[in-house]
Amino acid sequence: MRRERWPDGYGVKAVPLVYPGQEVLPDQPVLRFPATKQTDTGSGEVVPAGLRGRVVEISPRGGVVIESPAALVQGVIGAGKQIAGILTLWREKAGKQQKIPAGAILVVPDQINFALLHRAMSSGVSGIVAGSISLRDLEGFLRVDLIQLLNCADVDLVQAHLPPLTLLFTEGLGAIAMSRQVTELLEHYQGSIALLCGATSVRHRIFPELVISLPAEETQQNWQSVQPEAVLVPGALVQIYEGEHRGTVGTIDYVFTYQQVFASGIHARAVRVALEDGTWLTVPIIYVKRLL
């Protein structure tokens, strides 16, 4: 996949440090921003690639477009500019406080709260990938009206005024943990450098995403890219993302020919989902998304 390396919100032209056709590594500097009052480092700020791949283009504003074989995790909601960091899994153990490494992208598989967000920010964490968060905690942390944030026309402008911590929530608002499949994927790539962008705009159909370049050893022999399958057929592993069973994972067991009536009185096409505990659920087909 191709992604432009461009940390939003600078409003200035960057100087690319690489050229089209060049192979880059995730920690390799690819951009330099001139010194500003904000960065105040004297020589300006240097931005690492975040991806392993080939530079295919320098965009007019100086952004570096990199093509990379990568895994993609798309979130439901997020906030914050594009950052690169080391994926670090957060495991809270009773009575023991885990050290939070500065510059990391912290992975919190469960619901996250306001206190942990603040702790992460003050520890210098660059980004957080979590299962979910309550509306109150998220608005409290960002200090914005979330409805206005998602509707805003100028995405760059809005991101520039948010706290310096990029966020991605795989399940959105509420108290839902990320699916086992996503957690396992992130565990697998723990320690890798990844690229996280939190920008979310309903108006522009932009959703937050985490891009993890696949290591060279995984892409060397007979590697073929896998596109997500969307068709809902019996046997497909799905997650229910709405209603009282939100977050539940199961396998489609049957696709109903006729519309079914649900508790709300709504008629809708439906599927029967076999859950891991051996029970079944009949849910509107529109409530499920395919995992595998």
């Binding site: 504003r61 798309q74 409805i147 509707n151 026309a153 309903v202 522009h204 993302y241 709300s264 409530y287």
Partner: protein
Amino acid sequence: MYTQPYPDGGQGPTQKQNVPVANSLLVADCGAVFTKVSLFGLVEGQYRLMARGEAPTTLGSSQEDITIGVIQAINVIEFITGRRFVEDNRIIFPEQDDGNGVDAFIATMSAGGPLRVVVLGAVSSAFEGLASQAFSGLYAEMRSLAAPSHQATAVPSPVSVGAYTPSAGSAWTQERTSMEWERQLGEMRAFQPQAALIIGMADGQAGPTPLQEACHLLVNAAKEWNERRSSNGLENGTPKTFSVLYAGAPQYVEAVRQMLQGVAEVIRVDPLLSQAQLSMISMAVGTLHDRTVLQRLPGYDRLRSWSSASPLATATSLSSLVRFLAQHYAMNVTAVDVGGTTTTVMLAGEQGEFIPMVNSTVGVGQSIGEVLQRAGLQRITRWLPFSVTEEEIRQYVLNRMMHPQVLPASAREVQLSQAFAREAIALVLEAAKKQYAEWPESDLVLATGGVLSHAPRFGQVALMLLDALQPRGVTSLVLDRTMLISQLGAVATVAPITAVQVNENDAVSHRLGTCVIPFGDVQPGQLAVRVGVEYSNGRQLSVDVMAGSIEVIPLQTNEQALLTLFPAPTVDVGLGPGERARAAEEIDGGLIGLIIDARGRPLALPSDETERHARLMQWAQALGA
């Protein structure tokens, strides 16, 4: 009131002579949230709706191709009919002997969002009103920014009283002018227009300066955008350019072209002076929407290749049908379409009057946040027969914005969605009534769009329409349960017979009933109107309806009755206060029956929450909602 021309410049669907022979048609409507596909076919010599399928519109970042959703919706039809219409992601043409394939494919589209147009130059309030009338029937969002020189010379400076505010009535100093430039640039940044309409005849005190300033603003905005273009590949690579409709002083068109060289493509139209130019500007903006929004949607070229005609904007298709119905049945017809991002209210009169109001920023899906923002929390919660916290409403709104395709999971969510639908319609209607002093009462109200068409009960639809539109006198309510009406106008452009037959046989078939809405000065609990009903089988019935209530008198589908109304002396049923009315013709029944809405106009809800909840439940119960 003005009449917009049909998009092809013709006289409407009934006049079109080019009729290809098609035994079967697939018609797709690509909405902002769902793509609906219908299969029409010949059954015993008549065109009928044979099956329909629905799938989420695929314009999200993971599936950036609108045809994927169309194919998924066609797959549903294949599943239902057992026929095959798609092979290797292509539609099979023509219909085969074994029943697979179709003869024609037609598409309408409301996905892609509105065309954002900024009106610049010598923008007076009168011209701003004209411009918004020109845009009102289109998927267009308008902002106007009057040139500082025009503001300085056109607005008389009132005597300032109290605290000094630089924006109100102070002299146009250099500082104020530069502040206004900054403000306008900020507005351009926030609004991100794709097109501009430049107006002004250069005959005011400021001369041609407003035209010059309009160009400067566009040049500066383009320069700024090119310096800091948004990320995420929104407009990756190519420099920012605008489409500019120039409707200003003709002698300056070349000067404007030169000033905007490299920044805008300038299309000259007649100077905007009066309502006479509105049709032309509407057509030009419609064409820009096709070019700038629809044709840039991922998968558009592929969709276009499946059809002999270009995909039509859904609102244009709907307007064709509504005007056809108004002329054909010689009555005033109002169409209401509530979608995920857009709410449309259109009124067509039997004399050719036409008032289209399309608001592409108000809906019950992605645009539901806009409804909350504009209407406010109280206007939403007043329709709910239960207490609700602000947090619950906001959580609901955010979930809808992020998952607009999701259906309500509980009865509570159904009521929340219907409360938002009422306010979406009301907001559009309020804007329409501000623009058009004359708003005729409707003889027929046609309802379509997911929240109306998929409502679990017919009574809920009737209540939404009565609460939001607040019609008076006598009207009929019709629900487009199959969500076909907005596609039929497009069908009519290539197959008018199909459109007429399907309309007669299938689409507008859910007649909810006739409504009598008395209004006037009467206290709740007092007699508002006595209704005399004489059924076609000779049975007679007399019902007293009290002010503040809704009653339903049994009158089923395919039943007719003669109606006599005896209003109280201060109550009007359309002929004046206290005037008795007797229908010259029999009225038709419907799925709900004969509805007498004596709740008063304007509808006032009790301020006490408990009383309001009780009243809402009472009304819902009366209509079986």
